[in-house]
């Protein structure tokens, strides 16, 4: 039995091993004993490692003590293929589905009715396998593919399982939606899009499974390239090409950072496997350099300010399922990267790294949500909202690093659990919202908030399901957004106990900023939902809007159901997250005995929350009120025109616009924005009002940087003389120099 204690004499052969349950279909114990390494006779202990078995990796460790009791801790699943192989097979299946799209590239029906639902089923299967394998010990594998010195190493541990689960669940809903979404448009054909989409999914899965730098970077690059092609689906439009280029540029700038970070982390051994990086002991300043490079690189992909400029451009440019996938899942692979590097590969993170991550996260959160509140394009609004949520996740990670660095391990676990929970939540919530905008875009052809309105009457399914997403994003109990916010605030509550005085004073202020960001998120969501779905239609063409199809509704409902489940069963989710955090950082939350419906993260009666009881109480009161009022009084309703103060002639244009709804934020936070206003004067024959809100960081950071790069490139332009004789001279000189160096 795994984990059983056996009594075995020192040199006895292995006939009797307690019913054979130990062997697990791999080598017998004697072979393992005699292939033992690292025998340490003095201390009376020895560690034995089996070699690779025929059924995947058989790697288990038996400790041999003086008393001759052997405790066997196997790390292989008993009867069937290891979960790593299953995950890899599902990812390969995604690749195959993508390639199958090339068989009939022009057929929408084939891609839409067959391939995308198949991809969704793969996603569900992947999520199921990942959920089951979360509690299992880590598994490793080496594939005979890759460079001669560096084959592909793969590893599936609890962190990977969690993010694979996230990938599977989110992509299932999005794929189902996409099956019903894609219509004939200009740009990429359906089959090609199927290839790019499933390659995107497969590469994200491979990033999560990678156990060496080569596999990681290949998968990362594939992810960036496939998503670039997806973003530029409608490449006929110049604006979309420009957005795609910016996205690719910043993705590669980030990739350089990650590469350099891996380069620092190998620490002189020139072995690029993650295992070697784990064992490399870096000097503190080198470890700090590796962390900062990784934060830069992964932050560029995640959208940390100031590397966020590609997000508000790329997400609106991409088709909505792709935006959902990018915002919901791809940003989380960057979070995975940061966690893997800082907690796993670099060992113990230093406490001041946490402060850097915390500061970057808080600034991103506030910057993102302030800009989200003033947007007039519904997808840009959601993109900026993603920046805010990534900032909150980084805040949680930073807080965990600080607590870890000063030795408060159970609180580090709480903060890390809050960050992971928020990653899960955001994946589902943001995907749901983006898919809702996709349905609206298809139905109305409008992305501009100023031309939408009143769609709840025409598209009830989309509206009500998007409402679930909007309420979840606002952090309202009992949905899932509230749980992660609650956990984060709880972990901030204990920041005053940090031994370093200056830090312990600054950290609770972080709670104030998180609360501010959360309140603004509610503002943004009321604006988003209210302007699009409520009120009166601002354009006459909206009367032709139709509700989403069956597959689209299914995708939306899947994600909304996920939000509900994550909100109502936090204890169970945290039970799984604890395993992840334990494996990742060694810290764990203390066990608190509580019923299944009650969430008590820390002992001592400090805080508790029960989502099911809360929901039952609220729903119960509402239903009771409805019942009592209808019983005691009546339920008569008369319909009439809206109140117009006796003016008459109120039309739909007199509702608040998106600019109007964002005006208070623009008024208060105007210093952060580059606002350009065009006001009408009384003497204009055709008065017009225009306000554009720009990102000040673009003007002050990127434009000068771009100018500098241009100037440097121009300075080198004198090399390009245009005459072939000069170029031949260059080759000749280079050859002479190289020969001189070699000889």
């Amino acid at each position: 039995m795994p984990g059983a204690l056996l009594d075995v004499a020192a040199n006895e052969p292995s006939d009797d091993l307690g019913g054979g349950g130990v062997l697990l279909g791999a080598q017998p114990l004697e072979e393992c004993l005699f292939s033992g390494i690292n025998q340490d006779r003095e201390s009376g202990s020895a560690v034995f490692e089996a070699q690779e078995g025929s059924r995947g990796v058989c790697r288990w460790v038996a400790s041999y003590y003086n008393s001759m009791r052997i405790q066997v801790a196997p790390s292989v699943m008993p009867d069937f293929q290891s979960s790593l192989s299953v995950c890899l097979a599902l990812i390969a299946l995604w690749g195959l589905i993508g390639l199958a799209g090339l068989l009939r590239p022009a057929s929408l029906r084939f891609a839409g009715r067959t391939l995308f639902p198949l991809g969704a089923l793969c996603g569900v299967a992947l999520a199921a396998v990942a959920a089951v394998s979360l509690a299992l010990p880590p598994e490793e594998s080496v594939l005979p593919v890759g460079l001669p010195e560096l084959p592909m190493h793969l590893r599936r541990d609890a962190l990977t399982s969690l993010f694979l689960f996230l990938l599977g669940v989110a992509s299932a809903g999005i794929s189902v939606f996409a099956a019903g979404y894609f219509r004939r448009g200009r740009g990429t054909s359906a089959g090609l899009m199927c290839l790019q989409y499933h390659l995107f999914l497969a590469s994200m899965g491979l990033v999560l499974l990678a156990n060496d730098a080569y596999t990681f970077m290949v998968a990362w690059e594939t992810m960036a390239l496939s998503s670039y092609f997806l973003v530029t689906t409608e490449h006929g439009i110049a604006e979309i090409r420009r957005a795609g280029f910016l996205y690719l540029l910043i993705a590669h700038v980030g990739a350089i950072g990650i590469l350099l970070s891996f380069g620092v982390m190998q620490g002189g051994s020139w072995q690029f496997t993650f295992e070697a990086m784990r064992h490399a002991h870096l000097a503190p300043h080198w470890a700090a350099a590796a962390f900062l490079l990784a934060l830069f690189g992964f932050g560029a992909k995640a959208g940390l300010v100031p590397l966020h400029v590609w997000l508000p451009e790329a997400h609106p440019a991409a088709p909505s399922p792709v935006s959902a996938l990018m915002s919901g899942v791809m940003l989380k692979t960057a979070i995975y990267g940061v966690l893997r590097v800082s907690f796993d590969l670099l060992g113990q993170p230093q406490w001041w790294w946490g402060l850097v991550a915390l500061a970057a996260g808080l600034f991103s959160a506030l910057y993102g949500v302030v800009f989200a509140a003033v947007q007039t394009d519904m997808k840009r609004l959601l993109a900026w909202s993603s920046i805010e949520n990534i900032g909150i996740i980084f805040t949680g990670i930073g807080l965990a690093m600080v607590f870890n660095g000063v030795g408060m391990h159970s609180l580090a676990a709480l903060a890390l659990i809050a960050a992971l929970y928020h990653s899960l939540n955001h994946a589902l919530m943001k995907s749901l919202l983006f898919l809702g905008t996709g349905a609206v875009l298809h139905s109305t052809g409008e992305r501009n908030l100023g031309r939408l309105g009143g769609l709840i009457h025409r598209m009830p399914w989309v509206a009500w399901l998007t409402l679930v997403g909007a309420l979840a994003m606002s952090g309202l109990p009992p949905l899932n957004g509230f749980v992660s916010e609650w956990l984060l605030l709880q972990s901030f509550l204990f920041a005053q106990e940090v031994p370093r005085s200056f830090v312990s004073m600054l950290l609770p202020l972080g709670a104030a900023l998180v609360a501010l960001a959360a309140a603004l998120a509610a503002y943004v969501m009321v604006k988003f939902f209210g302007v699009i779905f409520l009120g009166q239609p601002r354009e006459p063409g909206l009367a032709r809007a139709h509700d989403a199809g069956m597959l689209e509704r299914l995708g939306l409902a899947w994600l909304a159901g996920g939000c509900l489940v994550l909100g109502l069963l936090p204890t169970q989710v945290i039970g799984s997250l604890r395993i992840v955090v334990q494996q990742l950082s060694g810290a764990t939350l203390p066990n608190v005995a509580a019923p299944w419906w009650l969430l008590v993260p820390l002992p001592g009666g400090r805080a508790s929350y029960s989502a099911p009881v809360f929901l039952i109480a609220l729903a119960g009161v509402v239903v009771l009120t409805v019942f009592v009022v209808h019983r005691l009084y009546h339920r008569r309703v008369r319909r009439a025109a809206p109140w117009d103060c006796g003016f008459g002639g109120l039309n739909a244009r007199m509702q608040d616009t998106a600019e109007g709804f964002g005006q208070p934020i623009r008024h208060i936070f105007g210093a952060l924005m580059a606002v350009k206003r065009e006001l009408p004067s009384p003497f204009d024959p055709q008065p017009r009002y225009r306000v554009t809100v720009g990102d000040r960081l673009w003007q002050s950071l990127y434009v000068p940087l771009g100018g500098l790069v241009q100037r440097v490139a121009d300075a080198f332009a004198w090399l390009q003389q245009g005459r072939i004789a000069t170029y031949l001279l260059y080759s000749f000189v280079t050859l002479i120099v190289l020969l001189a160096l070699m000889l």
């Binding site: 312990s504 609360a515 503002y523 805080a607 929350y609 008569r636």
Partner: protein, 316 residues
């Protein structure tokens, strides 16, 4: 769960529901005394509710189900909030399921649904009110959260009854941080409950309305529930203030029927004094322009953060 706890919980709920309109009536009475005029009867809010319940509901043609559902949700949120706040006793079984942060979340739920309902009809006034309410909310909610945070830091828990118990059983030691947060809380109370200087509850000018603009379209039972919810909100805020800053008199510890019975007249006294103080503040202030309301709330937020810093620096 002991019977005394269930009785405490039920009593608090019934008291909140029954007394909230009376509290409003008392505040109007005090305002009238201060302004040298005759006030309407103390029981006028009750008569108003009864009148409204009997009427036929007139709903705009452009309304969606959210419009008709929102009053019930807002009212339900306020009732559940009343179940969390320890106004009479600190042994409340429901507070195991919801702590102070969940309370702020409940208030946010009410605000969000109110704003959504206001935007639902699609007139200029509703959307204007929604925008203004969310603007006040995004500054008031963090300020309230910071006030509760400071109290949580002092008591090492976020469960509101535990905070009250902790603060009530201390000797009359003053916490300077609570002084700052008390000011912040008063400012937040004025803003969130649509009192002067943020919003005039008795205004008829639509362009100056914030809360009233959101309920402009409601009539009959929906309006009755909204009005009752607004009264409950003020009552709840007052009780939060008592729980955090004037916790003495609340039945603490294991709770005996005698201490519970003694807490009721004490609560009545606290409410009387609070109502008079509120009326005094309202009479002495003028309504600020809507553009200045964020400054007002930013002051509240900064006071709360100052209270936090004072607590961290001075440990008290």
């Amino acid at each position: 769960m002991r019977p005394i706890e269930i009785v405490t919980q039920a009593l608090e709920l019934i008291a909140a529901l029954a007394v909230a309109p009376l509290f409003l009536g008392w505040i109007n009475q005090c305002r009238a005394w201060l302004q040298n005029r005759r006030a309407p009867s103390l029981w006028l809010p009750y008569r108003g509710l009864r009148k409204l319940f009997h009427k036929d509901a007139v709903v705009a043609e452009t309304a969606s189900p959210i419009f008709r559902l929102a009053p019930y949700i807002v009212f339900g949120a306020m009732v559940v909030a009343a179940a969390i706040i320890p106004s009479m006793g600190t042994r409340l079984p429901f507070t195991v399921a919801a702590d102070a942060i969940a309370l702020v979340g409940l208030l946010a739920t009410a605000r969000v649904f109110l704003s959504l309902a206001a935007m639902d009809i699609g007139t200029a006034f509703g959307t204007l009110g929604a925008r203004r309410e969310m603007m006040l909310g995004f500054l008031a909610e963090p300020a309230l959260l910071m006030v509760i945070f400071v109290a949580s830091l002092i008591s090492a828990t976020t469960a509101l009854p535990a905070i009250t118990e902790n603060l009530a059983t201390q000797a009359l030691g003053l916490y300077p941080s609570l002084a700052f947060t008390g000011v912040a809380f008063t400012l937040v109370l004025l803003a969130e409950n649509a009192r002067i200087p943020i919003d005039n509850p008795a205004t008829h000018l639509e362009l100056t309305m914030i809360h009233e603009a959101m309920v402009l379209e409601y009539s009959a039972r929906h309006l009755a529930l909204m009005e009752w919810a607004a009264a409950l909100k003020l009552f709840n805020y007052a009780c939060i203030g008592f729980a955090l800053f004037v916790p003495w008199g609340v039945s603490t510890g294991a709770g005996s029927p005698l201490s519970l019975a003694a807490s009721i007249p004490l609560l009545a006294v606290k409410l009387t004094v609070a109502g008079a103080a509120l009326a005094l503040i309202e009479t002495l202030s003028a309504k600020v322009r809507v553009f200045r309301a964020p400054e007002f709330l930013a002051t509240a937020f900064l006071f709360a953060v100052l209270g936090l810093l004072v607590h961290l620096l001075l440990g008290g």
